[in-house]
């Protein structure tokens, strides 16, 4: 299902209610995107392989003992850095403190046989500097989707779907819920003040939940939105 179809699904579900008055297509697009962002970490926990990707990247620059590689723009989290010639076939991904400690100790790593690397915001740093190319296996993510022809839920055929199809209905329902929530906030009625506060607090909770740091292994998949 494309983004266009998804927007359409949200609009027809609001048609018979007052929400339709305040819901236009660009707003619906914003709400679908919010719903997608909300469900991304949940879908990731349900099926990590859906968001696993690999790419071969070339060294961008080097110093006397360290090479730097630019991370892909859709990079979210590194899983494996394959290095040709390395034992175990890969560089160890270390935290920044460990990396500094290990880097200058040839008994621990930083050599062609035992390369080490660290991920710094937008770049990958790797020792030794002689490694000119790596295959990075990583979890990808997406930004605001503006192109309405973007395929959201159908994988295969050589393109990337944005979220597993099992989340198609939850995403639509979440966008509809947001549309209705937004409409409730627009109604300026004293009796709605407490309702408005409640919905605001719901929204804040949702944002907080969605931004809770991920624990990919052994984590519970949240059950409520």
């Amino acid at each position: 299902m494309t983004l266009d179809n998804m927007i359409y699904q949200v609009l027809i579900r609001c048609k018979h209610t007052a929400t339709a008055v305040s819901l236009d297509q660009p707003t619906a697009k914003q709400l679908v995107n919010k719903a997608l962002q909300f469900y991304y970490p949940i879908a990731l926990r349900a099926d990590q392989t859906f968001y696993t990707k690999s790419v071969t990247i070339a060294q961008a620059s080097q110093t006397t003992n360290e090479g730097t590689f630019d991370l892909p723009t859709d990079f979210y989290k590194g899983l494996l850095v394959e290095v040709s010639g390395a034992k175990e076939g890969a560089a160890r991904i270390l935290g920044h403190r460990e990396y500094i400690n290990v880097a200058n100790n040839p008994f621990q790593g930083g050599t062609a046989a035992n390369p080490v690397c660290r991920i710094d915001t937008t770049v990958l740093k790797l020792r030794p500097q002689s490694v000119m190319s790596v295959t990075l296996h990583y979890i990808w993510t997406f930004q605001f989707i503006d192109d309405e022809t973007t395929e959201i839920t159908d994988p295969g055929n050589g393109h990337f779907a944005i979220i597993p199809w099992t989340f198609e209905q939850p995403v639509i329902l979440e966008a509809v819920r947001l549309a209705r929530l937004r409409h409730n906030l627009l109604v300026d009625n004293p009796s709605d003040v407490s309702k408005g506060l409640q919905t605001l607090s719901d929204a804040i909770n949702a944002i907080r939940d969605a931004n809770t740091p991920l624990r990919l292994y052994g984590a519970e998949i949240p059950t409520t939105s």
């Binding site: 027809i12 394959e82 890969a90 295969g156």
Partner: protein
């Protein structure tokens, strides 16, 4: 496989309309919306049935290393086989982190008689590379809405799932008719229900795979 439902897309829609008529006879329901809700209700029931008996819904295809996952792919059934010199060898599933080891470590090197499978780039990947394998997976049921899908389209749901699907689809559709506040609450509740069930689905798949998989029980690698 149990006896299949005799309802096709158009008949399911007619059935849901009949149920809705009992609530509000004057309302003009959109066919497109009912079709969408039939599909989502069907998917909900399907996930329940997969967990109850995954073997009814497992499907096998022949697929080569590097090929895109089939467009109806939902989840790997932990059952993939490579035939080497007339002998079947199950592929062991590996995490991304194990790829390097499996490629280079001489003590656990993937080979034609000990192949591995992993999923990346929404494609099937094998080690050693280049294998054509038989892949078991749980396919999504046929799509039920969209202008290009004829009313004569059938899915493969069991006979006994009919009323659950139709009632759930009617419930999804009724939501449209409620006052704003009630609709909001119901939407929230529906989303939570679907998510809870989705969680049970993915966790259930994992449990099923641990219990039923050919890879785990054959132990031939």
């Amino acid at each position: 496989m149990p006896a299949q439902s005799l309802y096709n897309k158009g008949q399911r829609r007619a059935k849901v309309k009949t149920l809705l008529m009992a609530f509000a006879q004057d309302i003009q329901y959109d066919d497109a919306l009912i079709d969408a809700n039939v599909e989502y209700a069907r998917d909900y029931v399907w996930r329940t049935y997969v967990i109850a008996n995954e073997s009814d819904f497992r499907k096998y295809i022949s697929i080569a290393d590097g090929a895109s996952l089939p467009s109806d792919f939902t989840a790997y059934a932990n059952d993939a086989v490579y035939v080497n010199n007339g002998v079947e060898y199950p592929l062991s599933y590996i995490d991304t982190e194990e790829i390097g080891t499996r490629k280079t470590n001489p003590y656990c090197l993937a080979s034609n008689t000990s192949p591995s499978i992993f999923f990346e780039n929404q494609k099937v990947n094998t080690l050693p590379s280049g294998l054509t394998i038989t892949l078991g997976y749980y396919p999504r049921q046929p799509k039920m809405f969209g202008s290009t899908i004829p009313d004569a389209t059938y899915d493969t749901m069991p006979y006994q799932s009919e009323s659950a699907i139709h009632q759930l689809a009617a419930e999804y559709t009724l939501e449209q008719l409620l006052p704003e506040e009630k609709a909001y609450l119901l939407t929230q509740q529906q989303a939570a229900e679907v998510l809870t069930q989705n969680k049970a689905f993915y966790e259930g798949l994992f449990d099923n795979q641990m219990l039923n998989s050919r890879t785990e029980s054959s132990g031939s690698v």
